[in-house]
């Protein structure tokens, strides 16, 4: 049997966790109960509900988890709406992994790392943060800045509070857009918060969130002395094939599915502003 690249595997949902009012995290394994395939942090997979559609999602679980994969999915369109209605035991289809991963084994090694996420933008970063935690001694200090609209919109808050905050040599800063009852933490937008924190500009930074957040946060980082060649982000565009052939996820001469989704800011600078 020849390996057919566009033919998916069958996955089984083994757990559904409601993270926020519009984000659920789905745990998926193969029909044999094992993990469907190996991946690296930042890579994506095409998930589909036959008859509804197929979409690209970042794999939010770490590669170091050898039992299953997780996808944190925000309900925002036709396919994600149906995915949100799925229950444990339901089968879906999955193919991947697609795209380039964060350079965790190359550029990130030995560096102090700054992770900045907004909203559902935490999904791709969770994979790399947990990877770094697993191989903790390979990396320097870790700073995580995570913001959302409200405290209820913070994805994976239990893991953040129970595990990340207790990790050695790790600082976690949370913020929400507006004051809210029951929240005694920081209030304000991520870009402004990042500038207030007195961060060491020699860290390697990874940004993920809505385009507007990325734009202003990047400007803020540059202002406090960060170098663009050490700032990374991930892009998201419409995709159908995942292997650089269907022709729609390009930014200039690069395909996000194949050449991305992880890009260094200096790489993005060379591309037309069309994403």
């Amino acid at each position: 049997m020849i390996e057919e690249n566009l033919i998916p595997k069958i996955g089984v949902i083994t757990d559904v966790r409601k993270d926020t009012p519009d984000v659920k995290t789905f745990r998926v394994v193969g029909t044999d109960g094992k993990k469907l395939f190996k991946h690296m942090p930042g890579q994506c997979a095409m998930v589909s509900v036959p008859g509804v559609g197929e979409c690209m999602f970042s794999i939010t679980s770490s590669p170091t988890n050898e039992e299953y994969m997780e996808f944190s999915i925000k309900k925002c369109g036709c396919v994600t709406e149906v995915i949100h209605s799925l229950e444990v035991g339901q089968q879906i289809t999955v193919r991947g992994p697609y795209g380039k991963n964060f350079p965790v084994e190359e550029d990130f090694k030995g560096k102090d790392l700054l992770f900045i996420a907004g909203g559902i933008g935490l999904a791709p970063l969770r994979s790399v943060i947990n990877y770094v935690r697993h191989y903790r001694s390979n990396y320097g200090k870790v700073v995580i800045v995570y913001g959302a609209r409200s405290k209820d919109d913070l994805v994976d808050i239990e893991e953040i509070q129970n595990e990340w905050m207790n990790e050695p040599n790790t600082e976690v800063y949370l913020t929400i857009d507006r004051p809210q009852e029951g929240w005694d933490g920081h209030v304000g937008f991520v870009p402004a918060y990042v500038k207030e924190l007195g961060l060491n500009p020699n860290m390697t930074a990874v940004l993920c969130g809505p385009p507007i957040m990325i734009k202003f946060t990047l400007a803020g980082l540059l202002e406090i002395g960060f170098d663009k060649s050490r700032v990374y982000t991930t892009l998201e565009l419409r995709m159908k094939c995942g292997i650089g052939k269907c022709g729609r996820c390009n930014v200039g001469d690069k395909f996000v599915c194949k050449d991305g989704p992880v890009f260094r800011m200096t790489e993005l600078d060379e591309l037309p502003d069309e994403y």
Binding site: E4, L6, E236, R238, K245, C246, R248, N250, E274
Partner: protein, 347 residues
């Protein structure tokens, strides 16, 4: 070199069809396109440009990719891939492919056969023997020479030339030799002089064509951003209706969509040609990266002339077939874009 009398071509087609599929330009409903040959079909090798390019032989306008059966919470994938149950495809011959369209197959190969390989396309490509046909009467809309293509001397598994009396035949590859051997009794030797004479006279015509000297010199990867930001895109794209005709007749356009179709007997996942000219091509639940027709128009031509070459050692993904020149209802085309942005010599 071999030759076969024109009146015996039907015998050749019949012979090939005994063991292989034969796709050849056939007149049907007033249009000439590549169809499967059969007794009584009206073959038209003389037609310079089929309406649609031969790309659908390897990359059909629609094709089923797999079928899903769902029962309760379970899904079963059936009929997955092109080689259902591991069968190999029946070999077929693409007959009468012009030099531009042959070059277009090379352009598509670099997309579909690059890792990770598109196995649907690959299976069809491997099953094909390509018989090219030299052009002897190029038209005003032709500009293959601009892309370094010699319309008088096409490559492929077999190269052929047609005149009033004969089809001249030269096998170039093992596949070509095998095809020749299927019908060796129909061929006689000779034709070198006639073919050389035809090449010379056609070349004289090609040199006179109105678009023969388009300047592409500015379309280089290092000019990507400068070209992208050129203010003339607005003006050039103003009349574009976004109908997508250019992309459908184009021999190198490769964009496709993957969709599901619910039937009484399960869900069929198929792919079909799509067009970067359409507004929902890049539409996502949370936004669209190309919201204006100018952006979509720019995308198409930047892809052909800059993005694709940048990723493929300078090879342009236009072959100068001129189909878009003939078919655009608004008389927009790549020639106008090249003339506007291509370089000083176009002025």
């Amino acid at each position: 070199m071999l030759k076969i009398a024109k009146e015996r071509l039907n015998e050749l087609y019949a012979k090939i069809s005994e063991s292989m599929g034969l796709f050849i330009p056939i007149k049907k409903g007033g249009e000439v396109n590549y169809h499967v040959w059969g007794e009584g079909k009206e073959v038209s090798l003389e037609t310079l440009k089929t309406v649609k390019s031969p790309k659908n032989m390897f990359f059909p306008q629609t094709e089923n990719m797999m079928k899903f059966k769902t029962e309760g919470k379970n899904i079963e994938i059936l009929e997955a891939g092109i080689r259902k149950q591991g069968d190999e495809l029946k070999p077929f011959v693409a007959f009468g492919v012009k030099a531009c369209d042959y070059k277009a197959i090379e352009v598509l190969d670099k997309v579909f056969l690059a890792e990770p390989v598109d196995t649907f396309y690959q299976a069809r490509r491997n099953a094909t023997t390509i018989v090219t046909l030299a052009c002897s009467k190029p038209e005003e809309s032709c500009f293959c020479g601009v892309f370094g293509i010699d319309a008088t001397n096409p490559q492929g598994d077999v190269s052929t030339w047609l005149d009033e009396k004969y089809l001249y035949w030269q096998a170039n590859t093992e596949k070509g030799e095998t095809l020749t051997s299927l019908a060796s009794e129909l061929f006689e030797k000779g034709g070198e002089t006639e073919v050389e004479a035809q090449k010379t006279s056609t070349k004289a015509v090609l040199a006179q064509l109105p678009f023969a000297n388009l300047d592409l010199s500015r379309f280089k990867p290092e000019n990507l951003n400068e070209l992208f930001d050129d203010t003339r895109w607005e003006e050039m794209s103003e009349a574009c209706l976004g109908c997508g005709t250019c992309t459908f007749v184009c021999p190198t356009c490769q964009c496709f969509d993957i969709r599901d179709f619910k039937t009484n007997d399960g869900v069929i996942r198929y792919r079909c040609w799509d067009s970067c000219m359409y507004s929902d091509f890049t539409l996502m639940a949370h936004g669209n990266s190309r919201t204006t027709q100018m952006q979509r128009f720019r995308q198409r031509f930047m892809h052909k002339l800059v993005y694709y070459p940048s990723q493929n050692d300078g090879l342009y993904s236009c072959v100068g077939c001129g189909r878009c020149v003939n078919k655009c209802p608004q008389n927009l085309n790549i020639v106008k874009v090249i003339k506007t942005l291509g370089g000083k010599k176009n002025d």
